[in-house]
Symmetry: D3
Subunit: 131 residues, 6 copies
Amino acid sequence: MAVRGVYPGRFQPFHWGHVGVVRWALEKVDELVIVIGTAQESHTVANPFTAGERVVMVKEALKDAEIDLSRVYIIPIPDILMNVVWVKYIAMFTPPFRYGIARNPLVVRLFKEAGYEVLIPPAYSREIYSS
Amino acid sequence: MAVRGVYPGRFQPFHWGHVGVVRWALEKVDELVIVIGTAQESHTVANPFTAGERVVMVKEALKDAEIDLSRVYIIPIPDILMNVVWVKYIAMFTPPFRYGIARNPLVVRLFKEAGYEVLIPPAYSREIYSS
Amino acid sequence: MAVRGVYPGRFQPFHWGHVGVVRWALEKVDELVIVIGTAQESHTVANPFTAGERVVMVKEALKDAEIDLSRVYIIPIPDILMNVVWVKYIAMFTPPFRYGIARNPLVVRLFKEAGYEVLIPPAYSREIYSS
Amino acid sequence: MAVRGVYPGRFQPFHWGHVGVVRWALEKVDELVIVIGTAQESHTVANPFTAGERVVMVKEALKDAEIDLSRVYIIPIPDILMNVVWVKYIAMFTPPFRYGIARNPLVVRLFKEAGYEVLIPPAYSREIYSS
Amino acid sequence: MAVRGVYPGRFQPFHWGHVGVVRWALEKVDELVIVIGTAQESHTVANPFTAGERVVMVKEALKDAEIDLSRVYIIPIPDILMNVVWVKYIAMFTPPFRYGIARNPLVVRLFKEAGYEVLIPPAYSREIYSS
Amino acid sequence: MAVRGVYPGRFQPFHWGHVGVVRWALEKVDELVIVIGTAQESHTVANPFTAGERVVMVKEALKDAEIDLSRVYIIPIPDILMNVVWVKYIAMFTPPFRYGIARNPLVVRLFKEAGYEVLIPPAYSREIYSS
């Protein structure tokens, strides 16, 4: 079976730092599931884009970067606001996966507590990219 | 801009009748958004598969059918249970689209009331396919 | 058919600045729908009054101002927290309407994106009235 | 203070039997709050009309019946699906009231358990009116 | 650490068949967590009692049966309606546990998929007890 | 019937100040219901522990303090975010009770508005205990 990783983020917006993570992850897994979180929010300073706009944005950026789209899933998911169930809730929407891909310590911890291995991508420069 | 259609269904399971609709729709639009509805339900007789399992099932079926995946989005969405807002809620998760694709009279009506044009695919044989 | 406008606010409390907006709007529309938002909140510093208390407050203020109540609807609505669907959600609870009435830039934008015209009332003096 | 009664129903549609109840109730209370329940549902066989359509329907019917609208509130409320809190939830949206107005045994019981008196209107003929 | 089992049910009402299961389970685990499900429902034919009434009923029945209450937790939990996350959601409210205790095939399956072992109690006579 | 009090808190964590309140309350009521609020939150700085962990913590602390557990209920409850219905919502999950036990002015007010008497425990030293 395909070995998959799940890479969650709000992606407001999706930027070249994120593209770098996708490229990095696709060297480690067969297929990558990009989870667009906080899908219910938009039109605010912190969350300007709708989930649907972010889906397009991610797909176009990956196309521009000549990443093989057939190895990628892009799944928008609304918040659930219960940390204990969050990973299982994500898993409800996604293909079966082996790895969580995250740097945020809470997200890393939640993946581990739910029994997943975690791949921690190298940091991208916060001076160049944000959010 | 790409002309898109949104094709919603529960797809429990996704079958060759559905594949036929996808093929038919891709002759009419540049890109197709397959919305996997009732994403929150699984493990029941009426809704056996999780949203994530259905995402894989749709992708694999389209691959087998040699349909160009770069023209397709597969988006699982939980129910909202308010018919008045349903189309806008779907639109929150999806790329901008022009057409709703549906045969169900309620779904057709909701798309029209929300200001979308509707493409009605030919019926597939209920004797061969179900759900 | 009656030309209607929808005027949303939290109205914590409803004050004479708001009454002025109602008077101003009733010169432009046949009927006005006053939407009392954030109906689920009360008993806090930011939202002291219940939705029901605000319904009474609005009605009594309009009566005192000798505004024709038969041209006004007062509808309390709980928050939905999804900007994309917010206007449709409001429309679910209200009679059909042509105009949104708002000064807040986000609210103006949401009405416009949902296909409604917007009437922007003159500012009332923030020195005299608040909230 | 005004003595008020709360009269809940789905009103799909509001018919002359309901108008009779309103007239009957206004002989017993100063003001009547008509609660349009299940406000989130529409477009189905059991619940064809939106809450907003029902608000208009109630107001127009009362106007036709020459009932004094200044003594009536019309408040649409979505379901909460917790019988224990239902009356308090209704009370959140409505002006303070003394009486529940209902024939349905569950509704009567819920009003009583919440500490309200109940006025039971005479039955209207089910042969003539429905829902 | 205490070895615990979780025993979920609606317990509408809690009867001597259930007491038998508790006694049986306490021979296999150090502590038992009785989860009172569908806690949000009451006042209906299928679910007459409130969660709180059921909490009392369970405690009193166990006391009558001279079961050691210090080895038992009684936890009411509202429904979540997502089978994929249901076990994790239960685990959010309960002490850490090793065993699910259930006969219902769906519940057995959900516990197993979530990585828990399942203890299946002997059937009690449906002629004597119900629900 | 047993005279009961309800003592709500987040108990992040449960400390000796809380134990003191429990001891104080059990001199005034037959049975005490400890409500563990905000049960849906965990893994954050403000709410580190899950509801289930807090249930264990409370039980173990009371055992250490040699408090009679058969007189105590420990009930975790998720937030509802509607102050008007909050007390009734709590009452849905708990045995019938006469007293609310609280120092927080909003909580005191909500219990009183819902028709309950309130017992205000002496302050514990904030220098020694927190949260």
